[in-house]
């Protein structure tokens, strides 16, 4: 089952220190200072937990990092090379092997699974017609080998709308792994999931690490991030206010710390 993963591990041995690095990034929405002087580096094979209250700027930070919105100021480096912000886009981020799995915005509900795997980078002929058979074959391969769905009644023709939340996250993460993302960003993947489903997602996050990739994991539930992250970054009102190693602080202490942060206005 882990064969494709093993292949991926050997492939990832590049000459860079940080997969992505932000320097002095600011973002304004009108008068709102959504991101304030963000300096952040993500290493090659680490899971970084990003935590903070609602409106702390977590999602904005991710959007800037992945080319969905442009920063108002600052520089972004991918694999230690600066990216030209004027043509930084989702497609560009994809081609730089950065993938994002959003809470509920990664998959189109009414479309079959195999289309969801390949949309945005379809396997087509010269005229843009999709190579159905190959897409379905590969999707099936991912389904079985990477995601490990076997005998649960899910096929490549399944409509996303009929899948559970955890299954969807699995598919989105599997898609990211298939396209050899070096950095996978998870935006609250366990929100609105049942306990068993959360377990699956956390296992997926673990697989990201063992396959030699990096991951940014945004999460509300501190226990979940604390379990899988190598390093926790705390955002508050658009700024990074702390960096914590999970081994230095228990979940309880972490919770106390964040509550304390909120009170300190």
């Amino acid at each position: 089952m882990n064969q494709p993963l093993a292949a991926a591990v050997t492939a990832v041995e590049p000459a860079f220190r940080d997969i992505v690095r932000l320097e002095g990034v600011h973002k304004y929405f009108g008068a709102v200072h959504a991101l304030n002087n963000i300096n952040l580096a993500i290493g090659r094979n680490e899971i970084v937990g990003l935590i903070g209250d609602n409106g702390a700027g977590k999602s904005t930070l991710i959007k800037v990092m992945t080319g969905v919105t442009a920063p108002s100021a600052g520089r972004i480096f991918v694999r230690d090379k600066e990216v030209n912000l004027s043509d930084y886009s989702v497609r560009r981020a994809h081609s730089l092997s950065i993938e994002t799995v959003y809470q509920d915005k990664s998959l189109a509900e009414k479309q079959p699974l195999w289309r969801n795997f390949f949309v945005g980078r379809q396997i087509t002929n010269r005229f843009g017609f999709i190579d159905f058979k190959r897409e379905k074959e590969i999707a099936n391969q991912i389904l079985i080998d990477v995601i490990g769905f076997r005998g649960v009644g899910i096929t490549v023709d399944s409509t996303i709308g009929n899948l559970s939340g955890g299954e969807r996250q699995g598919i989105a993460i599997g898609r990211a792994m298939h396209f050899n993302a070096d950095l996978i960003i998870l935006d609250e993947p366990t929100a609105a999931l049942g306990v068993a489903e959360v377990r699956k997602v956390i296992d997926f996050v673990g697989r990201i690490k063992t396959s030699g990739r990096a991951c940014i994991y945004i999460e509300h539930n501190l226990a979940h991030v604390h379990e899988v992250a190598d390093r926790l970054i705390v955002l508050d009102r658009g700024a990074i206010v702390a960096e914590i190693l999970p081994k230095d602080m228990s979940v309880m202490e972490l919770t106390e710390y964040l509550i304390h942060l909120q009170r300190k206005t």
């Binding site: 969905v68 886009s89 989702v90 497609r91 994809h94 994002t100 959003y102 915005k105 990664s106 998959l107 189109a108 509900e109 009414k110 479309q111 289309r115 949309v119 945005g120 980078r121 379809q122 087509t124 005229f127 843009g128 017609f129 999709i130 159905f132 649960v152 009644g153 899910i154 096929t155 023709d157 399944s158 409509t159 709308g161 009929n162 559970s164 939340g165 955890g166 609105a192 999931l193 049942g194 068993a196 489903e197």
Partner: protein
């Protein structure tokens, strides 16, 4: 919860429910009006009158599938029809008039696309406004006149676009078979391929599903929307030219009456008004039904006033059918709204 290892039969055969309804209606009319529906001439008439409706409805299938709407096409039929008619008749430009007519439709569609995609105006508003503008333009420029294209059948334009290729045949009905049916078939097949197998078609459906998801997966939503409305403009212009040539006459409000029938055909066919699901085959049969009901009821002996009533009824029934057959999520939310909450208000059960 239905897992979809078993795809329903309705999903496997595109447009199956509507094809069944079509067959039943056809059988019904053959029974109630045998003198008309068991003769070939009603069908050759359909071949010459339905193509404009089908072209419009196919364009709308893409637009509605992408979760947008276009109300502007009746005005394009007027405007492009005018551009074509005036150049064809007053300036004797022949094929250049055809090209100019098509270009005007493409231009109007492109402007609609830019208004919707780049300026962010909801398509309902944008195309409602442009429909007034271009319909007004057509009236102003034509001075309210109609253009009779007498002798048009002498021209190669007429012969190639709406000609009767078997006019010399011995079989009476064969002489009536019009060329526009062929062109329309080719366009429909091509666009069916585009919707089901081309990157553009996939993007259209994803955009209809969710603009947000589409952006995140790297679809250039704005560009695809502009293409979408441009395609609609092109098809409306094709319809305009066919209509003008077939009638050998241009008149300013020739697009009226297509707006609601085209939208109804698309939705009867099974394309989702909420976007994300669209079927070209369903739309074609939707058009057949809309066209056939009219002829069928009148031939059966009911007055024309019944036509709209029955069309409305078919429309309503099919909408309800699709809502329940094809969209489990929506069905669930609907019941939830009625107070039958499932899983503590969670629309999607966890496992």
């Amino acid at each position: 919860m239905e897992k979809s290892g078993s795809i329903s039969i309705f999903q496997r055969f595109e447009g199956l429910p509507i094809i069944i309804v079509f067959a039943l209606l056809l059988a019904l009319f053959m029974y109630t009006a045998p003198t008309v529906f068991l003769q070939p001439f009603i069908y050759t008439t359909f071949l010459s009158t339905l193509p404009p409706l089908i072209l419009l409805a196919i364009g709308l299938t893409f637009v509605i599938g992408a979760g947008e709407i276009d109300l502007c096409f009746p005005a394009i039929i007027a405007f492009s029809g005018f551009v074509f008619a005036v150049l064809f008749k007053e300036y004797n430009l022949g094929w250049i008039a055809v090209v100019a007519g098509l270009a005007s439709g493409v231009l109007v569609g492109f402007v609609n696309g830019v208004l919707v995609a780049k300026m962010g105006i909801p398509s309902f508003m944008a195309t409602l406004a442009t429909q007034f503008f271009w319909a007004g333009m057509a009236t102003v420029l034509s001075g309210g006149k109609s253009y009779a294209l007498r002798e048009a059948e002498q021209s190669s334009v007429w012969q190639w676009i709406v000609g009767r290729p078997f006019a010399d045949s011995q079989t009476a009905w064969l002489t009536q078979v019009p060329l526009q049916a062929l062109w329309t078939t080719i366009i429909v097949l091509f666009l069916w391929l585009i919707l089901t197998r081309h990157r553009f078609g996939e993007h259209v459906l994803f955009i209809g599903d969710s603009n947000e998801v589409s952006r995140v997966v790297g679809i250039d939503v704005d560009r695809e929307k502009i293409k979408l409305f441009t395609l609609m403009g092109f098809l409306a212009a094709c319809a305009a030219i066919m209509l003008t040539l077939e009638n050998k006459n241009f008149f300013g409000n020739q697009g009226q009456g297509y707006l609601l029938t085209a939208i109804a055909s698309v939705l009867i066919g099974g394309t989702s008004i909420f976007g994300g699901r669209a079927t070209v085959i369903g739309t074609v049969f939707g058009c057949f039904i809309i066209g056939m009901v009219e002829a069928g009821l009148v031939a059966t002996g009911l007055t024309g006033a019944w036509v709209r009533t029955v069309q409305g009824l078919i429309f309503l029934i099919s909408i309800i059918f699709y809502l329940y057959a094809d969209e489990p999520q929506r069905r669930r939310t609907f019941f939830a709204r009625l107070g039958r909450f499932q899983g503590f208000g969670r629309v999607q059960s966890a496992e």
